[in-house]
């Protein structure tokens, strides 16, 4: 499934750094809220 406006967001689970810890993050855990998914090319650059 590819991302399309008006269609369900493709779900994923991935490793993350959050508030000093390493965690698994699943996008659909945020269901019920407005979500901003913000891709950027690389750490130590501008976003």
């Amino acid at each position: 499934m590819l991302a399309r406006v008006g269609k369900a967001a493709p779900d994923f689970e991935a490793n993350a750094f959050m508030k000093g810890d390493f965690e698994k993050v699943k996008l659909s855990d945020y269901k019920g809220k407005w979500i901003v998914l913000w891709f950027y090319p690389g750490d130590f650059t501008f976003v």
Partner: protein, 137 residues
């Protein structure tokens, strides 16, 4: 942070590992943002997620500047993708979030150039061909 005030969950994501995210956070971001970054920095190792979202550049092996707004029903409402050389305008992101919240709560639509605080338009058969009378930005 204004996005927090809008009750929006932000996930930042790049092909860097969570360990590089941590290093960047400690070396730079924690000095720029008091208390540190309040949202997850997700690792898209290998660009698996970026490919599905159409933002993975296989030549550079990075996710380019893609931004997606997802509504509470888990549907994508908005997407913006920029090439590597131009950074983004957070004010436009905030305007769009406010516009989506506005249309969801009022059932109206927001024409081009709409700004928070302005009223929207109610779609109807009578409005067809008369938008210029109802909307004078």
């Amino acid at each position: 942070m204004e996005l927090k005030a809008l009750d929006v969950e932000v996930l930042a994501i790049s092909t860097d590992s969570q360990f590089v995210h941590q290093a960047w956070h400690e070396a730079e971001l924690s000095k720029m943002v008091q208390g540190g970054i309040p949202f997850p920095m997700v690792s898209d190792a290998g660009g698996r997620i970026g490919q599905v979202y159409g933002v993975y550049d296989p030549d550079e092996c990075v996710d380019i500047r893609g931004r997606f707004i997802i509504d509470p029903d888990f549907n994508i409402r908005s997407m913006e993708i920029l090439s590597l050389d131009v950074g983004r305008n957070p004010l436009e992101l905030i305007r769009q979030i406010k516009a989506y919240r506005y249309v969801c709560s009022t059932g109206e639509v927001t024409p081009s150039g709409w700004q928070p605080g302005q009223s929207g338009l109610k779609t109807s058969a009578e409005l067809v061909g008369k938008v210029y009378q109802a909307w004078k930005p």
